[in-house]
Symmetry: C2
Subunit: 414 residues, 2 copies
């Protein structure tokens, strides 16, 4: 346990150094020593072009430059400008009209959106449920405000969503708690790239529908990678299913504009509530706005103004969407290439349907990762029982050669 001198631990375990930071430092060192062209840096969670530069949509950059001082320098309302909130719902739901009542509250990125969900739809001391393969910050967001995380096995033996494991953990926690918040990251899951099928979502809903109606349940779909997971309509077919949830289940979408609009550093996100009725919709706005006020006040306005302009102008929206389709296709082609090569050389990987990342499962992931760094100058992130590979950050050529390198290292360690 860390020793705290003047700071307070408050139940948190705060490491002295971040594990990912360590890998990144070694990658930079390796690049300095061997040259950029001889190193594979598959750690970065941003979409880079084949030359390693950050991809920013030209249409979005134009809107950035067109903003009036008032639009970036002035405060936004706590919940976001009205135009932004409307656009956020449109961006998240696209062509789906739900019976549930949608409400949006601005948040600093997807992290802020998750913070709003956890802070308002779980109780202090609660255990939150998510999958064993999951984005590390879930645990930090929960722990920072006095909650903890329990995981269930994402994949059954056939590498489908393990609904039995889900059911057993949900029921177990619901016996102990009056409130239960569940986070499922789909489509384009970080780290695996998995997407729940609509039938799997139906099973999820069936499990939650079987709980006593006295329980307050929140189902959070973390949709950070939704627009890089496949065709934008195809990956949204699960949304109308939320209309079949019982009234004691709040459906929440943690939506991020970072990837969809290549605006990572603008910290523009939203928590979207899909409420069963007007009262819970009002409650959503009231509690999330309060939490925002008490955590970061309003959110950065520039990103909101950009999104607002894009959704005000159908021609511009079309241009943005077309530009995004192009870079998404580039990403999905990288994923297909990686998968092809993996299959050729017999490298196992978890089901990848889209998104920024894929996982090669292995035992002793840390050790394998270090060996891969040393022998192949390839940098990945150890993630439980596997190595996370950023397809978003690798040029196509590297997607073609990395699988064999990983296979070689794994074989040498058998």
């Amino acid at each position: 346990m860390a020793e705290y001198i003047l700071a307070s631990q408050n139940g948190r375990t705060i490491p002295t150094e971040d594990a990912i930071f360590g890998v990144n430092t070694r990658a930079s060192q390796c690049i300095r020593e061997y040259g950029k062209e001889n190193v594979i840096d598959a750690t970065i969670g941003k979409l880079l072009d084949d030359q390693g530069s950050l991809l920013v949509l030209a249409s979005v950059d134009e809107v950035y430059r067109s903003l009036k001082p008032e639009e970036y320098a002035n405060y936004a309302p706590i919940a976001g400008t009205p135009g932004f909130r409307k656009a956020a719902i449109q961006a998240a739901l696209k062509n789906n009209t739900l019976k549930r009542i949608p409400r949006a509250c601005a948040a600093p990125g997807g992290t802020g959106a998750l913070r709003l969900a956890v802070g308002n739809y779980s109780s202090i001391g609660d255990t939150i449920l998510t999958t064993d393969w999951h984005w590390g910050p879930y645990g930090k967001i929960a722990g920072e405000i006095g909650r903890s995380v329990e995981t269930f096995r994402l994949f059954d033996n056939d590498r489908n969503f393990d609904v039995e494991e889900f059911r057993s953990h949900v029921n177990g926690l619901a016996e102990k708690q009056d409130t239960l918040l569940i986070i499922l990251n789909s489509p384009g899951q970080n780290p695996t790239g998995y997407r729940l099928t609509d039938d799997e979502w139906k099973s999820v809903i069936a499990v939650l529908s079987a709980l006593p109606s006295s329980k307050k349940i929140a189902l959070v779909a973390d949709t950070a990678y939704i627009d890089f997971a496949g065709d934008e309509d195809d990956v949204r077919t699960f949304l109308p299913l939320f209309d079949t949830l019982p009234d004691n289940v709040m459906a929440l979408l943690a939506y991020s504009f970072s990837k969809t609009f290549t605006l990572y550093g603008m910290r523009c996100g939203a928590l979207i509530g899909l409420a069963p009725d007007e009262r819970t919709a009002e409650e959503f706005s009231r509690v999330t706005e309060y939490s925002g006020r008490a955590s970061w006040s309003n959110c950065a306005r520039a990103g909101q103004a950009i999104i607002e302009h894009i959704y005000e102008d159908p021609a511009l929206l079309e241009r943005v969407t077309a530009e995004r389709t192009e870079i998404r296709n580039m990403l999905l082609a990288r994923g297909a290439a990686f998968g092809e090569e993996a299959s050729k050389c017999g490298l196992d990987m978890l089901p990848y349907n889209g998104g920024f990342f894929a996982v090669v499962p292995c035992e002793n992931a840390k050790e394998v990762g270090l060996k891969l760094e040393k022998e192949a100058h390839a940098f990945t992130i150890p993630f439980g029982d596997g190595l996370r590979v950023s397809l978003a950050a690798m040029p196509m050529t590297q997607c073609r050669i990395l699988p064999q390198k990983m296979k070689d290292v794994l074989s040498s360690m058998e």
Copy 2:
């Protein structure tokens, strides 16, 4: 108590409607009915020109437009870019070189900086100490993460800082708690415009120095309005006094770039730790970075990039400073005019030395405020036992006429 349907209360009292929001709605209605020129809106916490438009420094706007996509669209490091962190310390301390070790962690505005301070330098369940006249969100920030706020009387009978009240509350809380966090908003306090003198800061330090060294104390100076409180060097003479604090007291500055760089909507702020030694400086970085990661991840990069560019270029910095001096002088002239008129007509006001706001103390502030709205079409914010007047939002002509209007309403109610 509010009724919670699907959300969790988590110890918070979340109102259905914000009080300030109510005043603002009435002000807008009044403007529609009687015309902008016949309404005094002294509610707004932003510096407006005499025509009611947001003041944005032209030099800052130029830098905004010059940013490369990489500089606003890319993620910033969690604690802020290295250049920003350096600039944040320079902006906060200016020409003061302290023996204490300064460290900065980026935060979404002053609110985020306070959130980092409270989350890391107080314990869950703690009572935090601040003045009776204080910015409302202190209580919300504390309550959102399981702390509460106790207040002591800011002014003694001579309208100086009430050091005896401070001592008594500090000692009382230190007897009950092992950790104690204190927030003092100076210079240019919101709402009063008060600035502690250096002798008053010395008394504050003496009180804290007398506590047992086993207590972990954090002294937060909320300096949000520091660059609109008077000459930028004069208002910083208290900073070197922090070198005389004992080692069990962490000194923290909640610094906001919103006012100083007219970048409200960019949500650019920093918590600055002035640590007694390298170990506590390291600890500061570790715990604040972790809290940021777990609350909002990184902060918006554009504001950081703007600040970085300004501090890299001495000529630009000089231009920004000169432009700010001009608008600060305008604000301070408004304050002087308001004070002059108040004194002419015998209207009492709390000591104002600078900053965006001033307070006219009165009983039944809500009632007085409503009468002022109705009879004089003048809108202010009731703040405990007084009305907060935004000098930042009123043209000079209104600063000259509002005091008599307030006096009239108060006299009519005697």
